[in-house]
């Protein structure tokens, strides 16, 4: 399970400089979309997390408020984008963080910092539909260019009819 100890070097950084409050036991801490490029830069330049690992976006549909629970407001449709960087070498470590944006909003792209984010962000845009702001070349990567919809969204049925192949 991904867990970042708030007392660790990474946890301290996230807590003190990037306002991460919640360090869940089974997930990476959330960072605001505005600050996360800065976080990646600090991690790469000051802490040696220089290998780009992955971007994994996931789509979360609307959760209606549970009437039985007091004060439950439900959850709007949103994307959750998990990022990871690795520090190479004998003291290797992985820095995980998550960014959450509502549908319709975009996330700042990491491409200016990491060339490896280019295709990963294109893939997530293609498959999940997250728009990465500042990406120099945000095209579909896996699916045909004229494909409709984003297959990895939860509302995209697995048996959606495929248009005739060119």
């Amino acid at each position: 399970m991904i867990h970042i100890d708030p007392a660790s070097e990474l946890g301290t950084l996230l807590r003190e400089r990037f306002g991460a409050e919640d360090f869940p036991k089974d997930a990476a801490p959330l960072v605001s979309p505005e600050r996360h490029v800065e976080l990646a830069r600090v991690l790469a330049e000051e802490h040696g997390y220089r290998v780009f690992l992955y971007v994994a976006a996931s789509h979360w549909p609307v959760v209606a408020p549970n009437p039985k629970k007091e004060g439950d407001t439900g959850d709007p449709e949103h994307y959750e984008i998990a990022y990871a960087l690795r520090r190479p070498g004998p003291n290797t470590d992985v820095a995980h963080w998550r960014v959450r944006v509502d549908v319709g909003h975009s996330v700042p792209s990491l491409v200016p910092l990491f060339a490896g984010a280019d295709w990963q962000e294109r893939e997530q845009y293609d498959l999940v539909g997250v728009v990465f702001e500042g990406h120099p070349d945000l095209r579909r990567l896996m699916m045909p260019e004229d494909w409709e919809g984003h297959p990895l969204r939860r509302d995209y049925a697995i048996d959606t009819a495929c248009p005739p192949w060119r």
């Binding site: 994994a56 190479p88 070498g89 004998p90 990963q120 699916m143 990895l152």
Partner: protein, 397 residues
């Protein structure tokens, strides 16, 4: 030579051809998706000035099968045989990577015997995968009717020995489905260790022959030295891992630095080369092959007694239930860091993953193409692509 000078500079992948030379009459050469040396169905559009590449635009996705979407619909127990097909040159690694993630989520302890067995299988798979790489790389350099195919067939001949070992153990030569959550599905048979010893001693002896034909050959060196140079900074930024990263001089190997399986019980000597060119990547892989032979030889006799599976064996499709959580598990596949990022729970119930993301090392390797190819010739494009060792099944998923 001007070709070499331009290759050293980091190329701009988004180069506007107007900026290059508005007057230039560039030739657009479409290499792939059906081309002998694109290692599957990779396509790149090369803008050529004479024979020198000005800009390379790669296209992937011709082998996209929607594995990640499929995994969302399959239960945890059913996913293993599906991901087998991702990196079809080292299927063991796919199985191990995905099951490591699930074990992490479940908190299952893998028995020591299974961990040793997994280590041996992983190293054997590494030998097989590097052998296939060496063969196909030389094929790219030497041609299908020529020296390339000779070495290719030598490598396949030796790779057969490894596949025979896997067949003896699992019953399949390729898509084994021998790993499961918490351990392995097949235990070793009485004659297996002897078979492994015979195979690796043959492979070790023949590695010298390969070296005589490739790395110690002047023509081969001419084709690979100084070609496709990736400096350490670019390699890390691109997320290159494995031999491509080590070939750029970064001393990083998950087997030593973040030991999984039983790698904490064995010494792994990490092989690095500083040059960052095709030859460096080739040397790293050939030395890794030797290193894997040594590790297998040390480990195969000492596989400890005990159970091979620490979790309930698969009896029902929906028997493995994970409430919630996110996990990232990674291992050093022959191509680099093969990671699995899983979000469990969520809206998909407890039996299926909510979102499963496979981090393919090949995709990152292919992403290097537009950065390193410009400035080289068409012949070098083939060499560079071969030296990155991309597996399209894994890149496209």
């Amino acid at each position: 030579m001007s070709v070499e000078l331009t290759a050293q500079r980091r190329a701009d992948p988004y180069l506007d051809l107007e900026d290059y030379d508005p007057e230039a009459d560039l030739m657009v050469l479409n290499v792939g998706p059906q081309h002998p040396s694109t290692h599957g169905v990779f396509r790149m559009k090369l803008y050529l000035d004479g024979e020198v590449i000005v800009k390379a635009v790669p296209y992937v996705g011709y082998l996209h099968r929607g594995v990640e979407k499929l995994c969302e619909k399959l239960t945890y127990t059913q996913v293993t045989p599906i991901v087998d097909k991702n990196d079809y040159v080292s299927p063991m690694m796919n199985e191990q990577a995905i099951n490591m993630a699930f074990e992490d989520l479940l908190g299952v302890e893998v028995p020591r015997r299974a961990r040793w067995l997994r280590t041996v299988l992983a190293e054997l798979q590494r030998i097989a995968s590097h052998l296939l790489w060496l063969g196909t790389f030389t094929l790219d350099l030497g041609g299908a009717i020529g020296g390339g195919s000779t070495l290719f067939l030598y490598c396949f001949r030796e790779r057969e020995l490894v596949l025979d070992i896997f067949e003896e153990l699992t019953g399949c030569r390729f898509h084994y489905n021998t790993h499961t959550i918490g351990g392995n599905r097949h235990d070793i048979t009485p004659g297996w260790a002897k078979m492994v010893h015979e195979a690796i001693s043959v492979i070790e002896a023949r590695t010298h022959e390969y070296e005589a034909m490739v790395t110690r050959n002047g023509i081969y060196a001419d084709r690979t030295r100084g070609i496709g140079v990736i400096d350490a900074g670019l390699a890390m930024e691109l997320g290159l891992t494995g031999p491509a990263l080590r070939g750029s001089g970064v001393d990083h190997d998950l087997r030593r630095d973040a030991p999984y399986h039983a790698y904490d019980e064995v010494e792994v000597r990490v092989q690095t080369e500083a040059a960052g060119d095709c030859m460096a990547r080739a040397l790293v892989r050939i030395r890794e092959m030797r290193e894997s032979v040594r590790i297998v030889r040390e480990m195969v006799d000492g596989v400890p007694e005990g159970p091979i599976c620490g979790h309930r064996p698969i009896k029902l499709a929906t028997q493995t239930k994970i409430k919630a959580g996110q996990a990232y598990a990674c291992l050093e596949s022959p191509r680099g860091e093969l990671g699995t990022f899983v979000i469990a729970g969520g809206g998909s119930g407890t039996a299926c993953p909510y979102r499963l993301k496979i981090r393919p090392p090949s995709l990152h390797a292919l992403a290097a193409v537009p950065y390193i190819m410009p400035g080289h010739m068409v012949s070098d494009a083939v060499a560079i692509l071969g030296s990155l060792d991309p597996i399209l099944g894994e890149a496209d998923r």
